[in-house]
């Protein structure tokens, strides 16, 4: 199966690989995994008090499409508000990367990672408020 040029570009030059301190109150962490392929994805967002995502990092163990999907997502969410980021759909990702049908689940994983990170952020906000 041939990867699209965009997938290869993200795979060979992944953007924003890395980790942030998950205990930092401004950092939200989303962890998701896909049993079908064993892929594991960690997406971290640094969110300002105004609810703007100022930085994003990812670490993904998986195939090229999973890495490309998470890399693309970190580029997309930067500068967005949480609400805007929550609107990113897996179809946006799979279209941008021209993923074949068997790799759609990689884009679903990336969408779910954003959602999981936002949930983590909201849970953190709630505990801070007490």
């Amino acid at each position: 199966m041939a990867y699209s040029e965009k997938v290869i570009d993200h795979y060979e030059n992944p953007r924003n690989v890395g980790s942030m301190d998950k205990n930092d109150p401004q950092v939200a962490t989303g962890m998701v995994g896909a049993p079908a392929c064993g892929d594991v994805m960690k997406l971290q967002l640094k969110i300002t008090d105004e609810g703007i995502i100022e930085d994003a990092k990812f670490k993904t163990y998986g195939c090229g499409s999973a890495i490309a999907s998470s890399s693309l997502v970190t580029e997309w969410v930067k500068g967005k508000s949480i609400e805007e980021a929550a609107e990113i759909k897996n179809t946006d990702i799979s279209e941008e990367l021209a993923l074949p049908p068997v790799k759609i689940h990689c884009s679903i994983l990336a969408e779910d990672a954003i959602k999981a990170a936002i949930e983590d952020y909201q849970a953190k906000q709630d505990t801070q408020k007490g």
Binding site: M31, V32, G33, C37, G38, V40, K59
Partner: protein, 175 residues
């Protein structure tokens, strides 16, 4: 007729591998094309179909995780889609660590030892999940079935890690 019935086995998760393989040989022999050389083309076709079902049944019953999946299907458990996401953070954190451990094996000063240690670690975690799965499947109630289905999803990650470890071993020793 389900696979257990086809093999004349009680629908239990634990199966006797020897018995399974004996029944398989016997069933395959009974459907062998030579036995149908003079049969009508319809009978020949049926024998081929039956033979293929026997093969599928054997592969399913022989492989523990496939067997677990099949049992849950037989019990009508509503299992999450293969592609649906696992969100158990603790579990996934551990998966990340294990992936990192496998990465380290590649660069270890003594890859032999590192490989062995990693393999032991994967094995022991797999076995503990697997033993829990056996207990859950034996209980045969809704809660246990749901728990089993969740365990099965987790075990698939370990299966994947094992494949990854085998690949690293091949690379290291260029087998």
């Amino acid at each position: 007729m389900n696979y257990y019935e086809l093999f004349g086995l009680e629908p239990n998760f634990n199966v006797d591998e020897k018995q399974l393989s004996d029944v398989f040989q016997r069933l395959q022999k009974s459907m062998h094309p030579d036995r149908f050389a003079h049969a009508s083309s319809q009978e020949q076709l049926l024998a081929v179909q039956k033979s293929s079902m026997i093969n599928d049944a054997y592969q399913t019953l022989k492989t523990p995780l496939k067997r677990a999946q099949y049992m849950l299907e037989l019990r009508g458990v509503d299992m999450p889609d293969e592609q649906s996401t696992v969100k158990d953070t603790m579990f996934l954190m551990r998966q990340m660590e294990l992936r990192e451990l496998l990465d380290d094996v590649k660069h270890a000063a003594n890859p032999d030892d590192a490989l062995f240690a990693a393999s032991q670690e994967l094995d022991s975690e797999y076995q503990s999940l697997f033993s829990e799965l056996q207990v859950q499947l034996a209980q045969q109630n809704d809660d246990a079935n749901m728990a089993a289905s969740e365990h099965l999803r987790k075990l698939k990650f370990y299966q994947k890690l094992q494949i990854e470890l085998d690949r690293i071993e091949d690379q290291l020793f260029e087998l």
